[in-house]
């Protein structure tokens, strides 16, 4: 036992390497297909020539309408993330500072939102958005994401604000700050970690979500990046090298961010789960 430990694992590595391969091989094979030519791939699988067809990416970018969808996604992300953080932290601040029955009730109402399947609200929402003139606008799509992500964000902010000592708020009120100034000068600057957690969790959800653009985005102007894959799906045939390239394009930003900010991602996801 001792010897095995000093070697750094020994037998434990065998199942772990197996699992790692199960995880990695499909992902890597997609990358390989995304840079190979379809005709040589189908002709004979093992004799495909090792030349890079990077033009697959260029044509996938073109065909997937990626320039537009990327900018849509970024606009939607910005609006949604700002609104989620602002609304949730203000609401949590109110719960912390005033502790009235009404706001507590509001808290539980919002938490129940976690159980609402998005399919259930989509159809009536479509009608309401049409009436409100928000259909086919990026702001409308962003608002839907705000509604979907508020419950978790509120829970995270509330959990954090409960840990702030009440004396801090009282002290600032005694010093003559009104509640708005207390929020902006005392509470908000303390919320950095929660804001980053909310940005990671909600940002991931919005980036990956495909149901909202599938139903709500009738025009290309509001479609987000996740839906771009649909451009490659024909009625009878699939453009596989194109799909693979498009998948790599839309996954790469997440993976790069993850590798750069690994600690924040894992902490954020654990915080989101534990509070949930």
């Amino acid at each position: 036992m001792r010897v095995m430990r000093r070697k750094g694992g020994g037998m434990v590595h065998i199942p772990l390497i197996l699992v790692t391969l199960i995880m990695l091989v499909p992902l890597l094979s997609i990358v390989v297909v995304s840079v190979s030519s379809w005709t040589s791939l189908t002709k004979s699988f093992f004799s495909f020539t090792y030349d890079l067809h990077l033009e697959n990416y260029a044509s996938a970018w073109e065909k997937g309408n990626m320039s537009l969808y990327f900018s849509n996604t970024i606009v939607v992300l910005m609006i949604a993330l700002i609104l989620i953080n602002l609304c949730a932290s203000l609401c949590a601040f109110s719960i912390k500072l005033y502790k009235t029955k009404t706001v507590n009730l509001i808290y539980y109402m919002l938490l129940a939102g976690i159980f609402v399947p998005i399919q259930a609200v989509m159809l009536p929402l479509l009608q309401t958005m049409k009436v409100a003139g928000l259909l086919n606008t990026r702001f409308g799509v962003a608002l839907v994401y705000v509604g979907m992500n508020l419950p978790l964000a509120l829970m995270l902010f509330c959990g954090f604000y409960q840990s702030i000592p009440g004396e801090l708020l009282e002290a600032s009120m005694l010093d003559g700050c009104n509640s708005i100034r207390t929020y902006f000068h005392v509470i908000f600057p303390l919320s950095g970690t929660i804001i980053s957690t909310v940005i990671i969790l909600s940002g991931l959800q919005i980036w990956r979500d495909f149901f909202v653009p599938l139903i709500l985005a009738g025009t290309p102007n509001t479609k987000t990046i996740a839906i771009s894959l649909m451009q490659f799906v024909g009625f009878y045939n699939y453009d596989w090298t194109g799909i693979c390239a498009a998948m790599v394009i839309q996954t790469l930003p997440i993976l790069l961010l993850f590798l750069l900010l690994q600690k924040y991602f894992v902490n954020g996801i654990v915080a989101g789960a534990v509070k949930g």
């Binding site: 434990v12 699988f45 949730a88 005033y98 508020l150 495909f210």
Partner: protein, 294 residues
Amino acid sequence: MKNKRQIKALLYATPAVAIFLFIIVVPMLQSIYFSMTDWSGTSSEISFVGLINYRRIFSDKTFLVSVRNTVILTVTITAFQNVLGILLAICLNRKWLSRRNFYRSVLFIPSLISAMVTGYMWKYILSPYDGLLGMVLDAMNITNSAAFNVFSKPNAAFITVMATMIWQNVGYDMVIYLSGLQAIPDELYESCSIDGANPTQKLFHVTLPMLMPSVTIAVFLNLIGSLKCFEQVYVLTGGGPAHSTETIATYIYNTAFSGGQVAYGTAASTILFFSIFIVAIVQVKFFRSKEVEL
């Protein structure tokens, strides 16, 4: 003074409440209302029909199949993900294990990728005629790629859907369990060693009981996620062949959005909402009672 407090409190909550009402609550109530009408989605006439849609839906074979599938899928993938997640977390929590950060990252990566992307990835790998696995098997003369078609057989298609979901989410559970394991104090294990406990006893009498809060959370998230599961099924099978892989979520989509039976679809989604609500509450109550306090 007291009134002023009330008003101020509400004022701060207003933006969140307004958006939440507009996006979630009102549509949810409308959806419950539509489920008691005969609205088709396009007609301007709506008449109230009471609970007829609910009575009809429970005699609809496709809906019953989708309920059965959702239950099987939820139980199976929750069980697999949690057992595998705990095992992997225990393996990867050993400080003497080399390259453990590499393993952790790789196992976690699939859960970062959108279900849409992994869905198409597996669809490509497993698709007949031009799929990757088929081509490899062809090239190695093992089987004919045309004969290799998991999506044409009901059971194979359903197992494939479940397997891809487990593949995607197991790393997520592992991360939750890793953080749970790291919260267990080392002294507990030391005092166990002094008392002469062997590794198996430590696992069953220290690790697993102390991990129960993480189990509650992971099971909760898995249950909600798989009850609502849509993307994987939509991409991989679209509910077919012959509705054999239909889940409640795809059933709602197929009836309300592409089938034009709005009233019917909203009845299904109301049922889904209350099922998720009840299942989640019962689960949390039950698992919380199993947690131990130090």
